[in-house]
């Protein structure tokens, strides 16, 4: 009886708890019954800072891209039937109405080449540009914003956008760095002085114009030398001159600049091994022990308003934004799509004084609804960091009134949830609560064939990066464990040839495709004419040569390229045997040593593990039938957020990585693989590795870095895209790609493709990816259902759509 009472009590408590839950669960879900079109999407990491002056990563640009406008913009090219011309594009004026090259008008005042082009531009703005609150936008607002962008008191993250890279505004760097003191400033990089700029003092020593010291540097690392010193390169230079200069050097390795040392240095670098450098290159060897950027007023920076709606921009490096016929070149939309713009009153109100113990100012502008101002097609309606943001149409945007936009921009509202877990997003997608999602490898087989699936390429080529520091490899060897065999290029090539790229991509990625080169189909060497690098004959030959495919045996180069698999196990085994036998003979490996390859990553998740497992199996297969059979092992280690630094420091042997960016400038992109500052493993000495190549009809022998510098207009020859036609530069880009590939420190594996599903609610204008317009974005997105209609569809589908 008593037990029954207790049982009844427990039951009552349980029922009460369940009733409470049921009551709350019965609260009706609010439904959006309005007749507008809402695009529901998600992100795994929330944007937090869409301030153009300080945004940190691509997550932030999610919101930023809707809040601003472009002076010039890419658009699809349509044929006479209104159909999109595949792969083609147009450049159109948007927030600007006119672009003029005004170099001649400002040449004298700004010291520009008198006959130069592309150094100064006047941009005429539309006169109906407005902020979301109706405040007008004038040219002066862009000038104010640039002053804030470069303000040295803030050290804004994006200040370098205007003094590093293609768009260099006159004196922007000087203004941003004023009063900043740099130790051991490399004159070769800073480009401050030539001999004519220096002042010769009574004692015969040359100094900077203000009397500060400047020296030849014997033992100071020089950035343009890949961080190496002249002393390290002295074997390639004149030995007598070097000895004489050493005798004159002080304890820091500095040599005072005098007529005597200028003469000595001139002979020092004029050797065959050093490429017979001339005296004009002497300033590259100067170092300024301590350089303080002088104070500067903003009127010295190359941006100003010529009138209310005319903005003038003076550049240090010319940019061809206009074609010969005066129409916009692709660079107008690529390099000068817009300039940063902040709403002055809001920006001023959100400046934050330096925190305790700090010197730098910060800003909360564009980090919440209250601090955000839009002059683009959408404005921020709500934002909760790490959870959700919503955007609605900005009725002050000039674009909605333009006749060419009639029927476009159907989307009334954008709702973006932050959902870290893919499975959580997936059930929301199937339930019709979000309108697009990337296909995870776990469901790829079921959904890759869906008629709602689409595939997006990007410029990322995932590659194996192999350790290039033999010294570090040797340091990590132990009794019975060999690693230095990785320093043998034949062994690295064997590792490369043992991996079937197509199979690797199919087994370890959702939708990526085999990759063989540093570049993929997204890299354009001649954007204006729509020429992709990988489609060129020069680029195809590089791949054939690297992967041992004799293209002369095929009817066409395309057939030869199609025959490449990257996999040649017999050749690979022969290379392993050769490398091993030579190492054995040289005493670098013993007959019982194991070769242990340490693979590292920033996180060992399922995907990473799957890839490393595949590679392990491939390499175990590789050594079968070779003297290393059963003696090659791999291990996988998690190096956390320091994985890249640790790899550079030589702490492990193999990582996976690649580069994105500069997809339309493959010449510049080579920096990532040739400069020690960017290489994954930085021990490959590209400043001494030479290449002989015929350029513009003349044969030259130079270091790879010198070739790179010439290709980008910063070396002895100017073979930049300003000086040369793109077709003339192409062979050199291909030659350098081949040089990088043939040392096998970088082993390309796959070209990244992402597979996605789009809900039945919306449609893109095209499902053929366009490099310039993608799928048309929000501008061209169309809706099959209003929100209310979609809710009915969801109800009819019982909350679960079938996308298979």
């Amino acid at each position: 009886m008593n037990n029954k009472k207790i049982f009844r009590g427990v039951l009552a408590a349980l029922l009460a708890a369940l009733m409470m839950l049921s009551i709350v669960a019965c609260v009706p879900a609010t439904q959006n019954e309005e007749e507008y079109y809402t695009y529901n999407t998600f992100t795994t990491i929330s944007p937090t800072n869409w301030n153009e002056l300080t945004y940190q990563d691509n997550n932030d640009t999610q919101i930023m891209s809707y809040l601003g406008s472009s002076f010039f913009t890419f658009d699809f090219k349509f044929d006479e039937n209104g159909e999109i011309v595949t792969g083609d594009f147009e450049i159109k004026y948007e927030a600007a109405t006119k672009l003029e090259d005004v170099t001649a008008a400002y040449a004298e005042a700004w010291g520009l080449p008198a006959d130069g082009k592309g150094y100064a531009y006047k941009i005429t703005l539309r006169d109906d540009l407005k902020w979301q609150n109706g405040d007008p936008i004038k040219a002066e607002d862009f000038v104010y914003t640039m002053e804030q962008q470069l303000d040295p008191a803030f050290k804004n993250y994006r200040a370098d956008s205007f003094y590093v890279g293609a768009t260099i505004i006159a004196n922007a760097q000087g203004y941003a760095k004023q009063n900043e003191t740099i130790e051991n400033l490399d004159n070769g990089v800073a480009g401050l002085y030539t001999l004519a700029d220096l002042v010769k003092n009574a004692d015969g020593v040359y100094t900077q114009p203000d009397g500060s010291a400047i020296y030849f540097a014997l033992t100071t690392p020089l950035d343009w030398c890949g961080g190496k010193t002249v002393t390290q390169y002295s074997p390639y230079m004149n030995a007598d001159s070097f000895a004489a200069l050493q005798a004159l050097a002080d304890e820091n390795g500095y040599v005072a600049i005098t007529d005597e040392t200028v003469a000595l240095w001139t002979t020092l670098i004029y050797t065959e091994d050093w490429g017979f450098e001339g005296p004009e290159n002497l300033p590259y060897y100067w170092i300024i022990p301590s350089y303080t950027y002088p104070e500067m007023t903003f009127d010295k920076v190359g941006i100003f308003a010529a009138s209310d709606y005319e903005l003038v921009l003076v550049l240090e490096k010319s940019l061809d934004l206009l074609k010969e016929d005066g129409s916009l070149s692709y660079k107008a939309a690529y390099n000068m799509a817009s300039l940063p713009l902040v709403h002055k009153a809001t920006y001023e109100a959100n400046k934050q004084e330096p925190a305790s113990g700090s010197d730098l100012w910060t800003s909360t502008y564009n980090s919440s609804v209250e601090t955000t101002m839009s002059w683009g097609p959408y404005k921020l309606e709500s934002f909760q960091a790490g959870k959700q943001y919503t955007l609605v149409k900005n009725d002050q945007w000039f674009g909605y009134a333009l006749p060419e936009n009639e029927g476009l921009y159907q989307t009334d509202k954008i709702v973006c949830d932050t959902i870290e877990e893919w499975n959580s997003a997936w059930v929301k997608f199937l339930a019709g609560e979000i309108d697009g999602i990337g296909i995870d490898v776990s469901v790829a087989d079921d959904y890759k064939g869906s008629d709602r699936a689409y595939f997006t390429p990007d410029d990322f080529v995932a590659s194996l990066q192999l350790q290039s520091s033999e010294e570090q490899l040797a340091a990590r060897q132990s009794a019975g464990v060999n690693k230095t065999i990785l320093a043998d290029v034949r062994f690295r090539k064997a590792l490369s040839l043992s991996i079937n790229r197509a199979d690797f991509a199919a087994e370890t990625t959702t939708s990526s495709l085999q990759g063989f080169g540093l570049y993929n189909s997204m890299h354009y060497y001649d954007v204006a004419n729509g020429k992709a690098y990988r489609e060129s004959d020069a680029a195809k030959k590089v791949l054939c040569e690297i992967y041992n495919v004799d293209y002369t045996q095929y009817a066409t180069l395309d057939e030869a390229v199609d025959a490449i698999t990257g996999y040649d196990i017999d050749a690979a085994r022969a290379l392993v045997t050769e490398a091993y036998n030579d190492a054995l003979a040289a005493g670098k490996i013993s007959a019982t040593d194991k070769v242990v390859i340490t693979m590292g990553s920033g996180a060992i998740n399922e995907t990473v593990q799957r890839r490393f497992d595949y590679i392990t199996e491939a390499w175990k297969e590789l050594v079968k039938g070779t003297p290393l059979e059963g003696r090659l092992e791999t291990e996988v280690k998690d190096f956390g957020s320091a994985w890249a630094e640790d790899f550079r420091a030589g702490k492990y042997d193999v990582c996976m990585g690649g580069w994105t960016g500069a997809a339309w400038d493959p010449g510049y992109f080579l920096l990532a693989y040739l400069s020690p500052a960017y290489m994954y493993s930085a021990a490959w000495d590209t400043s001494s590795q030479e290449m002989t190549f015929t350029m513009m009809g003349e044969e030259y022998t130079m270091s790879l870095m010198d070739w790179y510098n010439c290709l980008n207009g910063t070396g002895e020859h100017d073979w930049s895209d300003v000086a040369l036609d793109q077709e003339d530069r192409l062979p050199l880009i291909a030659a350098l790609e081949k040089e990088v590939l043939k040392v096998y420190y970088t082993v390309p594996l796959y070209n990244n493709f992402s597979a996605s599903l789009l809900s039945y609610k919306v449609d893109y204008i095209t499902y053929t990816y366009n490099t310039f317009m993608a799928y048309g974005g929000m501008k061209y997105m169309t809706y099959n259902f209003t929100d209310a209609e979609w809710a009915e569809q969801v109800a009819e589908a019982n909350g679960e759509f079938d996308y298979k």
Binding site: N3, K155, A355, S358, E421, S424, V427
Partner: protein, 340 residues
């Protein structure tokens, strides 16, 4: 008086332990070199300037003094660094923490409110039905729930209850949406407590609450059953029955009270530990709580976040230990802390 002295001594010891661990954490995290790599075409000087501005280039002892000075003088616990996911660089870390605490606390408290009575009730029932089929069913269910990791039943719950059956929302509601629905105001970087107490928000928290409670219910059930089973076989229970108490009177007045001596402190411990949140459940139901902050702070090498969270959890842990110890004295008058 004994008790007072004991508390003072324990608090003093707590502060000493806190200081030692605080310094160890501070030194260890700063021994990990900060990432200074930049992408193609970026000026490294800007990053270096930002790092210097935070004093990260100074000797560690000097950094420690400056850090404590800032906290004591200005209440400034530091600013978020640039790689912390979902958090704007330079945002005061304390503001982020305050905004993210409410969902974590509420979900865990609701989970405890559900788990404690249900778990104890099931435990009592199982103990009273020891070795009968009811006990076997409960014990088996408890073992299953305890053995299955939270991401499994979290994902299952999401798939079955929220997706297939559509009974509950798939994620927690956003604060701006709640503010709009109930004509309230959402203020970033504050706790926004008023936005959490409404049917829409509570309903959206239920999936997480229920998932969080499964493990606790199982734990309390197992613990209560074990304790009560032992007490029910004690000699004083026989005495209670022989002096004329009914079985339920003896169970409620004597057995339960004695069994609660170890159970009650565990409840206090769990309630205090709710502040740490659940990384897995918060991820599955997209809850912007504190669960992931600590891990993210370590991955992002965000020194200020790491120190704030380390200090907070350390204090909570030490305080929980103290409160649990003291609670024994209140539950069982026979126990007097510090008495000789």
């Amino acid at each position: 008086m004994y008790m007072f002295k004991y508390i003072c001594k324990r608090v003093g010891l707590m502060l000493v332990i806190f200081s030692i661990i605080f310094v160890i954490c501070f030194v260890l995290i700063r021994l990990v070199p900060i990432n200074t790599s930049v992408g193609l075409g970026q000026d490294k000087d800007i990053l270096i300037a930002q790092i210097k501005d935070r004093g990260y280039d100074k000797p560690i002892p000097e950094q420690l003094v400056l850090y404590i000075q800032r906290i004591v003088k200005d209440g400034d616990f530091g600013r978020a660094y640039d790689k912390m996911p979902n958090i704007k660089m330079n945002t005061p870390v304390i503001d982020v923490f305050i905004e993210r605490l409410p969902p974590t606390i509420l979900i865990n408290i609701m989970s405890s409110l559900l788990a404690v009575p249900v778990g104890i009730a099931l435990g009592i029932f199982a103990a009273l039905k020891k070795n009968k089929w009811q006990d076997h069913v409960i014990s088996t269910a408890v073992m299953v729930i305890i053995s299955v990791p939270s991401f499994v039943y979290g994902s299952l719950f999401l798939y079955v209850i929220c997706f297939k059956l559509g009974i509950l929302p798939k994620e927690i509601a956003s604060l701006p949406a709640i503010a709009k629905q109930y004509a309230l105001q959402y203020i970033p970087f504050t706790a926004n407590w008023d936005l959490y107490f409404n049917p829409t928000m509570i309903k959206s928290m239920l999936p997480a609450v229920l998932c969080m409670s499964f493990g606790s219910i199982a734990g309390y059930t197992r613990f209560t059953r074990a304790e009560l089973t032992e007490v029910l076989t004690s000699e004083f229970m026989l005495l209670a029955r022989t002096k004329g108490l009914t079985k339920s009177q003896a169970t409620v007045r004597h057995a339960l009270r004695n069994a609660m001596v170890p159970i009650f402190p565990s409840i206090i411990g769990e309630v205090l530990s709710v502040l740490s949140g659940s990384l897995v459940i918060e991820r599955i139901f997209s809850i912007p709580g504190v669960g992931a902050l600590y891990l993210n702070a370590i991955n992002a090498q965000d020194y200020d976040f790491f120190m704030l969270l380390s200090s907070f959890y350390l204090l909570v842990g030490l305080a929980a230990g103290l409160v649990i110890d003291l609670s024994y004295g209140f539950i069982d008058p026979r126990i007097r802390m510090g008495a000789k």
